[in-house]
């Protein structure tokens, strides 16, 4: 029922069936091309997964090969000696906290921006939305000094604050659009029944935009999980997240390819799982703004 997030079931639905025709040469060629590229798109990822299950020697002898006797030592070594256990935990803590904080403040802000009439509303909305286009990495030096002066440099909390802030524009953008689409009668009825503003927000409005909340949360999760720039500059090695941990691993163990494959898989697996669980929300988020 509420699975399609941005009210766009049409995107996944097949186009109206053309009249029955014999498949033409063009159709065969286009199908072949599509499947061929699917192989090209997936092959490197498969190679990564397979490589993580082979030994260093096997990788050197035969770059492409099937692990008939899969080994899991690469994971064990990467996890303990390579430092990935610590990177993984840091990634989880930092990303989840940032997403919760960022989405939380965004949903609070989006609500009055969408549904209350007040002066400065237009300006405030524009101010938030401008952030959708800001190349925030360019402010890294002042961010560094700012965190330094408030004692948050080299802390996970500092990183979390920057990350959460970076998710605010997209969160406000999507959630305000959803709040705006809800019928006005809802809160009028609630108000007549004597519900306070907070109660209307928490018990009526937020549950109604839950699908959008999922989209927003997912959409903060992915880039933050993948980011390496901010941790590289803002924290020391013991607080590194997975992507920056990978760069560290590569400089330290240059020749450990099999282990590196394992590290790449460890970094990627959570996202793939997330994607398979929430394909629709992710696609809806990627195309937010294209279809109304």
């Amino acid at each position: 029922m509420s699975t399609s997030v941005l009210e766009k079931p049409s995107m996944m639905a097949p186009p109206p069936r053309p009249r029955r025709r014999r498949p033409r040469r063009g159709a065969v060629a286009s199908t072949a091309l599509l499947w061929l590229y699917a192989v090209a798109a997936l092959a490197p990822l498969v190679l990564m997964a397979v490589g993580s299950l082979r030994t260093e020697q096997q990788l050197a002898d035969q770059p492409i090969g099937i692990p008939l006797h899969p080994v899991f030592e690469n994971y064990a070594k990467a996890w303990s000696d390579g430092g990935f256990s610590s990177y993984f935990v840091n990634s989880i803590v930092v990303t989840v906290s940032s997403v919760v904080l960022g989405t939380g403040v965004a949903v609070l802000a989006a609500y009055p921006l969408a549904r209350y009439g007040f002066r400065l509303r237009g300006m405030l909305t524009a101010y938030f939305l401008a952030g959708l286009m800001l190349p925030i990495r360019l402010g890294i030096k002042p961010v560094f000094f700012l965190l330094n002066s408030i004692g948050l440099i080299d802390t996970k909390l500092g990183l979390i604050c920057v990350y959460a802030a970076s998710g605010v524009p997209f969160g406000v953008f999507v959630l305000a659009a959803f709040f705006r689409a809800l019928p006005m009668e809802l809160e009028e009825a609630a108000r007549i029944d004597g519900a306070g503003e907070l109660r209307i927000f928490a018990q009526i409005m937020v549950p109604l935009v839950r699908p959008a909340l999922t989209t927003v949360a997912l959409f903060q999760f992915i880039p933050l999980w993948n980011d390496f720039f901010f941790p590289l500059i803002l924290v020391e090695e013991d607080k590194y997240t997975l992507p920056v941990g990978l760069t560290r691993f590569v400089t330290e163990f240059e020749a450990a390819h099999a282990e590196l494959y394992a590290g790449l898989v460890i970094t990627t697996i959570p996202l793939v799982l997330l994607f398979l669980l929430a394909t629709k929300q992710i696609i809806a988020g990627l195309t937010a703004g294209i279809t109304k």
Binding site: S10, M11, M12, A13, P14, P15, G26, A27, S30, L33, L34, W35, Y37, A40, P44, L45, L47, L59, P63, I64, L101, V105, L108, A109, P112, L113, Y116, G131, L134, P135, R137, L138, G139, K141, P142, V143, L146, A164, A165, V168, V172, M184, E197, N226, F228, I233, P243, V244, L246, T247, L264, T267, T268, F275, I282, I283, L286, T287, I290, T291
Partner: protein
């Protein structure tokens, strides 16, 4: 329609009757608005907006290490183009960014559009194909960079091994080590990662075009290509505009992928150096005592470039769209 949609609590007349209560309610509502908006406002202003404005301020002063010196006007900006080594590196990095953008538009955007159109017509396996194309997009650019670095390794990489396997061993190359190949290869790897994104955007737009338009063109005897060229493509202009702007922004922010594939110097011999990497090095790996002044000036320059071109391009595509209507 006549209801003032944003005013909770009833219409004009009712409010005039209960003016006192209305005013109290308005005050309370303002307090609610403030509490709701404040956390996001503080967080966003403090960690995103303020640093970007500070960069502008930093760029106008000369620096001695961490000590802010005198007001320097635009001299930091002049230094970017006159002081070696920046005077040599900035134009080169900018040129690489432009090549990167052009290459991405030609390869990735065209492929994305082609896949979207073909998928739109195909019936079987659509969901699977879409998922396959978008999956690389989820992977961290750092992961993609290291993965492809290993695959492109001249001795034990999968790419050269695959070429030898199908009898094309002569085509095997030191893909990342050849200064002429390194940048095109990076563009291809980046396109592998991103092609699903324009594809999805085009697919969403295609789904929004009424089937009757194509039906009408067919009835009028238009070929498939003519239908695409005269009917579908013009209707995709707004999305093409969005894709162009997003590709531009993405390409001018690129850093992670090249850092993973070619290090922070953009090896070999700066042949893959881009503005993002150069900014990073100017800010954090720069022996010049005025590193903060220089890197901030570079940041402002990139900001103006990215923001200015994005707005300009958006305007341009709006006008194109209007003309097509």
């Amino acid at each position: 329609m006549t209801e003032p949609a944003v005013e909770p609590g009833g219409g004009e007349t009712r409010r005039r009757v209960r003016r006192g209560a209305g005013r109290r309610r308005a005050r309370r509502r303002f307090a609610v608005v403030l509490t709701f908006v404040l956390p996001a406002l503080v967080l966003y202003t403090m960690f995103i907006v303020y640093p970007l404005i500070s960069s502008l301020q930093y760029s106008l002063f000369s620096w001695d290490g961490l000590r802010q010196g005198d007001f320097a006007g635009l001299s930091n900006f002049v230094d970017l183009f006159t002081k070696y080594p920046l005077s040599e590196r900035i134009p080169r990095a900018l040129a690489h960014n432009l090549i990167f953008f052009a290459g991405t538009m030609v390869i990735q955007t065209t492929a994305g559009l082609l896949f979207a159109v073909l998928l739109h017509r195909s019936r079987r396996g659509k969901r699977f194909l879409q998922t396959a194309y978008i999956l690389p997009h989820l992977v961290s650019p750092i992961v993609a960079g290291y993965l492809w670095s290993m695959m492109l390794n001249p001795q034990f990489g999968a790419v050269n091994a695959a070429l030898k396997g199908v009898g094309l061993g002569a085509l095997a190359q030191p893909w990342r080590g050849d200064p002429h190949l390194a940048l095109p290869v990076a563009i291809l790897v980046n396109s592998w990662q991103w092609v699903g994104f324009p594809m999805l955007l085009f697919a969403a737009a295609l789904a929004g075009i009424p089937e009757e338009y194509h039906e009408a063109a067919r009835v009028d005897g238009a070929s498939a290509w003519q239908t695409f060229r005269r009917v579908t493509f013009p209707l995709l202009t707004p999305v093409l505009g969005i894709v162009t702007v997003l590709t531009f922004i993405g390409n001018f922010n690129i850093l992670d992928l090249i850092y993973a594939m070619q290090g922070s110097q953009g090896n070999p011999t700066f042949s893959t150096d881009v503005l993002g990497l150069l900014f990073y090095r100017t800010a954090f790996d720069n022996p010049d005592p005025n590193a903060i002044g220089q890197s901030s000036a570079l940041a402002v320059l990139m900001f103006v470039l990215i923001f200015g071109v994005s707005i300009g391009a958006t305007r341009f595509f709006r006008r194109m769209e209007a003309r097509l209507k």
